[in-house]
Amino acid sequence: MNARRDPVAHAVLLLGVILFVAPLWLVLVASTQDPATIARGDLSLLPGNEGFSAYARVLNGPVPHMLLISLGMALAIAFGKIIISVLSAFAIAFFRFPGRRVAFWLIFITLMLPVEVRIIPTYSVMSDLGLINTFTGLWLPLIASATATLLFRQVFVAIPDELVEAARMDGAGPLRFLWDIVLPVSGANIAALFVILFIYGWNQYLWPLLVATNPRLDTIVIGIVKMIAVETDTDWSAVMATAVLALLPPVVVVVLMQRWFVAGLTEGEK
């Protein structure tokens, strides 16, 4: 079958592209319009005449600080999740210890509990630890990840036994083996997971909303919501410009890491 001449496939692809691109385009267009025009509701599909003035406006406000908070939180969550899940997956995949199956199943069961379900006990724990309204409180409860642990377990289990044994013959202890062999060999998977986790962290809404009431700890996502919540005259072009700015870091991460993990995939011959 010649895929180039398949009109149905093309139509479906085109529909997909439109579905994904159209909202982004609208946001971009709106950010260059005069706020009053947007408020009236006649949003044009072509860029307005305000240029990038809305960007200049929001960049002089609290937005850069919000971006920084979001970036810090997303990085802390992504790295925290990777460190914790690599260590626990390493234990489950390579060691035989009493309670190994129990530990595995406990982790597996927590997969079924989303943040929202355990949010009240989590809040109470954070409150006892005195971490409400602190930056640590933003990311700490979010760094345990059953999904990542299970994914890494699968990756580690796929490492050939002979490689493990060769390292044992070479005299590598467990931590050395983890650092020298397991981590480099799983580089591609770690990169892929980093992208997913970074975006997960970046998009956190409910937890930061609960745990931090101090405006200095507002993430960019919360910042946008707060800007809209000003009921009477929302500065829509500022909202849109902020939304575009909020989009950029995840895009940068995806683009950068994509190159990295494609290289990892082609090099990592197991």
Binding site: P160, E162, L163, E165, A166, A167, R168, M169, D170, G171, A172, R176, D180, I181, P184, V185, G187, E267, G268, E269, K270
Partner: protein, 355 residues
Amino acid sequence: MAMLELNGLRKNFGATEVLRQIDLSLASGEMLVIVGASGCGKSTLLRIVAGLEAPSTGTVVLDGRDVTSLDPAARDIAMVFQNYALYPHMTVFDNMAYGLRIRGLSRDEITHRVREAAELLGLFEFLERKPRQLSGGQRQRVAMGRAIVREPKLFLFDEPLSNLDATLRVRTRAEIRRLQRRLGVTSLYVTHDQVEAMTLGDRLLVLHKGRPAQLATPMEVFERPADTYVAGFIGAPAMNFLPARLADLGDSARLDAGPLLHCIDGRRAGDEGTALTIGIRPEHVLIDPEGVPLRVDLIEPLGSETLVHGRLAAPGETSLVIRLAGKAPDGEILTIAFPPEHIHVFDAETGLRLD
């Protein structure tokens, strides 16, 4: 002096006995090949020596020191794995140097040893490459290099040639033997390939279902196999087995197919009429107008020689393979004879050799 001694090794996995009573002693510099069909326990034996597996009972003594409970790294043993087990993200140099770095050797010493090994193995120009940029044969040599740089007391080889193509296998086989002689390192080599076993070993250990079937030099194993299993396993095509009975007070064997074969190397013990298995290798069967008729099933010309597959007319229709120099004579029926000087006599019941 014995470099490696295995005393009463046994290994059970649950109720399954994988190894039963292995006693073995390797002289310094000796290369012993452990050969057997898959599942005979040969890899388990090697892994026990390496320390990757613990024996159920018995001890492993290396150079006078009991290492049974030591970690693999503490045993001064290097191993070449079947799939080479090279670290995919490290260069050839780093693959060889890794174990030395962990041992805390100086940078100069590591570089010196790795370069020397690379020179020896013809890997010098590949030192900065990653394993995936190497051919199968080169990877195999890197795996060897990783073992050599350690300068261990004992080399273990776990079917190191089984992933190579036929031509390369023959060449690498010779290389391994030369290298082992030159370095003089005591070696244990596991294979299922009888040609490797015959050509590489100073001695052979034939394992059968976890039991040592025979331990002897390759030629002795070939010429005087200890039982029907060894006789059938070593040699290609495999030895023919013919049912027979003891006759003439032990002086001869009467084949069920007819002929009476005189045991020229002496009288066999046993009652008249005891069931025997007579073994004869395909190349020793002769065409003889006076012989017994063989119905030909298949002729395989190999160029310089010809394999003839056939069945004896009666009784039992025993199938035979014979190897003839040159071409096979025409005809559906060949008449063949079994020269008494080439027969092997086994007890039909136990399969053990009778002398």
